[in-house]
């Protein structure tokens, strides 16, 4: 292994690690902000104090998630310059703008209003206080929009030219960058995925709470609110995923063929492999269990049509890019990872919708079914963790499916890495991040479990009195 390869592989591993860890907390925060905002809204409308306590209790998990999300987000912004300096030079004209706008528009909004929300329970009337959590929630969604605008350009570059003198990409139309169809398939899919995450974490934790047979009303109402959101979101995430799939067949056929483990053309009608054993070295499929017609339904919403396989796409890509990138490029993407990631994601999506429907049925008013069906509570509890796997799988497909490019068709990953950061530095930073994330992850889990273990007792017992607020009236000196 030569030195150049080690720098590249270490930098790639580190990017994957920091981004995956950060993206545990991003969808959780976006989703929880919405769930909490809806709970507080119900409180404002119905004036039922229980919903205020719900907002406060689940707000505790939200604040934890937000804190870790914010600080690990710092890494995201710094690492383009730190580890991918040549990417930054090449892409700065286009990539920097959405990043700066995200900070200016979204980060200030969410961080300011979360401060007001957190410390303002006593200081503001209920409606204004509720507006703060909505502004925070909207801030998190705007943030997603801008960062995905940047990501979408990497997937599908539009509204740019290559400056002949500098060799850098240069923005020619900001409108085109924003109107990038990739963004408008990706954004709703990611947002619905985030809402699924937030709602199923609340539902799952509430299910664990319900297993203890304490605070039954509190947890049952929490399950109701979260599963209604979860049902809508899981239908949304599957639907948007479907639209996105059909878009990707056209724009990034290699990515799609890999998610289906397709090496040879499918022929018409195309059958869909549920599971498959593949030989990634020789680019062929060894065996598979297939369902007829399903691939055509997935790809074209029809019962006929050929789907291109990776071997043909590879030849097409060579014909298209050899002049610019040379004959030695490998255009095959990590097929196994994509194939199985897609299945994790798709199965999870279906499962979320199913659980939401069954859960809402069991949890209907005047029935105590949900309290008695303890097996179902266990399933819901375990499903607390499933959205994280699904989100990560989705990003594996999106990012690894772009291989070997960091910017599709324009810049390879190998050309993007910082040439001046040594293997030793990278090894050190990988170890530091690994230890740091393990620690933070462990603390997060312990604290979430502890919050659940204590339950909402302190809030429910305090009744109308909000928990101690350092900025409450009694805490101030009269000067």
């Amino acid at each position: 292994m030569n030195l150049g390869l080690s720098i590249l592989s270490l930098a790639r591993f580190q990017f994957a690690m920091t981004t995956v860890f950060h993206f545990f907390f991003v969808p959780l925060s976006i989703g929880l902000a919405l769930v909490v905002a809806i709970m507080e809204t119900v409180y404002v409308v119905k004036k039922d104090i229980l919903y205020k306590h719900m907002a406060q209790f689940w707000g505790r998990i939200f604040l934890l998630s937000f804190a870790v999300g914010v600080v690990t987000g710092l890494i995201q912004e710094f690492q383009f310059g730190m580890n991918w300096s040549d990417y930054s030079r090449f892409m700065g004209d286009i990539f920097g703008a959405p990043l700066a706008i995200e900070a200016l528009v979204a980060f200030f909004m969410e961080s300011t209003f979360i401060g007001l929300w957190m410390f303002g329970w006593d200081r503001f009337n209920a409606k204004l206080h509720c507006a703060f959590i909505w502004l925070t929630s909207i801030g998190t969604m705007i943030s997603a929009m801008w960062i995905l605008a940047a990501n979408s350009f990497m997937q599908n570059p539009v509204g740019f030219m290559i400056n002949a003198k500098t060799g850098r990409a240069q923005m020619t139309s900001f409108a085109a960058v924003i109107k990038n169809p990739q963004l408008w398939y990706e954004l709703p899919h990611v947002l619905f995925g985030a809402f699924v995450t937030g709602s199923f974490v609340v539902a799952g934790m509430a299910a664990f709470g319900l297993l203890k047979k304490k605070n039954v009303t509190f947890y049952r109402k929490s399950i109701k609110v979260s599963l209604i959101i979860g049902l809508i979101a899981s239908i949304g995430v599957v639907g948007m995923g479907d639209l996105q799939t059909r878009y990707i067949i056209k724009e990034q056929p290699m990515k799609f063929a890999a998610t289906e483990g397709l090496y040879k053309d499918s022929g018409s009608p195309a059958s869909w492999a549920i599971i498959e054993g593949m030989d990634t070295k020789n680019h062929k499929s060894n065996w598979s269990i297939e369902v007829p017609y399903v691939l055509d339904i997935l790809s074209y919403h029809k019962l006929q049509g050929n789907v291109k396989g990776q071997n043909r796409i590879n030849k097409e890509l060579h014909a298209k890019y050899d002049k610019k990138f040379g004959k030695d490029m490998n255009y095959y993407v990590p097929t196994k990872t994509l194939f199985w990631s897609f299945r994790v994601m798709a199965v999870s999506g279906g499962l979320f919708a199913l659980i939401a429907i069954v859960g809402l049925y069991f949890n209907r008013a005047k029935s105590t079914m949900i309290e008695r069906q303890r097996w179902f509570l266990w399933i819901m509890g375990i499903c607390t963790f499933l959205p994280f796997a699904a989100n990560t799988a989705g990003w594996f497909i999106t990012e690894l499916g772009r291989y070997p490019w960091v910017v599709y068709g324009l810049l390879t990953i190998a050309d993007a890495v910082s040439p001046n950061v040594s293997v030793a530095s990278l090894l050190f930073s990988n170890i530091v991040y690994f230890c740091l994330f393990s620690g933070l992850g462990a603390v997060m889990i312990v604290l979430s479990r502890r919050a659940l273990h204590h339950g909402p007792d302190d809030l429910l017992q305090a009744g109308d009195d909000a928990p101690y607020d350092p900025y409450g009236k009694e805490a101030f000196s009269h000067e």
């Binding site: 934890l64 804190a67 914010v70 600080v71 690990t72 987000g73 710092l74 890494i75 912004e77 710094f78 383009f80 310059g81 730190m82 580890n83 300096s85 040549d86 930054s88 030079r89 892409m91 700065g92 004209d93 990539f95 920097g96 703008a97 990043l99 700066a100 706008i101 900070a103 200016l104 528009v105 980060f107 200030f108 909004m109 961080s111 300011t112 209003f113 401060g115 957190m118 410390f119 303002g120 200081r123 240069q170 910082s418 001046n420 950061v421 530095s425 050190f428 930073s429 530091v432 740091l436 933070l440 603390v443 604290l447 502890r450 919050a451 350092p470 900025y471 101030f476 000196s477 000067e479």
Partner: protein, 331 residues
């Protein structure tokens, strides 16, 4: 150099000024958790003085970084990859102190609280110190090649000058934090902060003199821009005089504004000395210039329109959030 390029050089400076003015007292308050505050109650109070604000203050850094990327990607790429290890440690410090406030409040044991208090204190100190160190090393001149890649050795960024720079910035932040606590608390904390600030200001004077001397020998600031550099150094000392006066005369606002302005003065001193460069190479031919480092006029124009539209709105609610929580906290 176009007007837009100049404007964005100034804007990046403004954003870093905002960051140091605001996060400066955050860092200072963070450090006081294990020094000025001496029991659990006092620690609760000092943390609560910045509780609603520290997160939004840190966004100034994120925005400064984003603005640098959006306006001068060559600067961003060169600076961030060049100071890789320092920035890694800064990130670790910012992460530890960032989660510490939330995590500490959830701890049930004395040792758990103690751990996160130290994380906040050490993280705040290290972040301030390392930022000071990095920017000092940056203006000294670093080994940069023609591609803009910096490959510095340990002694390039850890030396007497950069250590003094780091100490000066962290001391300034500490005093800024004490001045903030004087404004935001009452009772013993407020009195103790005043008592502690008095001797520390004399240390700061000494530090500033040493820093000015080292600046003279280690950078080309005085040689290239004798007048403006001298004015800014004198202004720094004068602001410290004002802050000291505010301490001895017990004018709390005067001290706070002066210590904040002295942090801004340091940023201005740095940007003034950098101009018309963004990175100083020890081989002058490889210094990166504003005119070569920027994005296209199209992007700069776009960013100008968007920033100037959004910034006023953002400032309104940002300032409003301070106004809402402007009260003294009692221990």
């Amino acid at each position: 150099m176009s007007n837009l390029q100049f404007l964005w050089f100034v804007l990046v400076g403004v954003l870093f000024s905002g960051f140091f003015f605001l996060e400066g007292f955050d860092f200072g308050v963070g450090m006081t958790i294990k020094s000025l505050a001496q029991n659990r109650e006092e620690r609760d109070v000092v943390i609560h003085t910045i509780g609603p604000h520290w997160d939004a203050n840190e966004v100034w850094l994120v925005t400064a970084g984003g603005a640098m990327f959006a306006s001068f990607p060559m600067w961003y790429a060169s600076l961030f990859s060049g100071f890789y290890l320092i920035l890694l440690l800064i990130l670790v410090a910012l992460i530890m102190r960032g989660v510490s406030f939330e995590f500490r409040s959830r701890m049930e044991s004395e040792s758990g609280r103690n751990f996160w208090e130290w994380a906040a204190a050490i993280g705040s100190f290290c972040a301030a110190f390392l930022f000071g160190m990095m920017f000092t090393a940056m203006v000294k001149g670093m080994p940069i090649n023609a591609h803009g890649d910096m490959t510095a050795h340990f002694t390039d960024y850890v030396n007497l000058f950069s250590i003094v720079g780091g100490v000066a910035v962290s001391l300034l932040c500490y005093l800024h934090g004490l001045n903030f606590i004087r404004l935001k608390t009452t009772g013993t904390l407020r009195e103790r902060a005043l008592k502690w600030a008095k001797p520390l200001y004399w240390v700061l004077f000494a530090g500033e003199v040493v820093f000015a001397i080292l600046l003279f020998f280690n950078t080309d600031f005085f040689a290239k821009k004798p007048i403006s550099t001298t004015i800014l150094v004198v202004a720094l000392v004068l602001l410290t005089v004002l802050a000291t006066w505010g301490v001895y005369g017990n004018h709390e606002w005067l001290s706070f504004i002066s210590s904040g302005l002295s942090l801004i003065d340091v940023v201005v001193l740095l940007f003034n000395g950098l101009f018309p460069r963004v990175m100083v190479a020890n081989n002058a031919a490889n210094s990166i210039l504003i005119k070569d480092a920027s994005n296209s006029p199209y992007t700069l124009h776009l960013m100008t329109v968007i920033s100037l539209t959004v910034l006023p709105i953002m400032l309104v609610y940002f300032i409003w959030s301070y106004w809402v929580f402007y009260k003294r906290l009692a221990s």
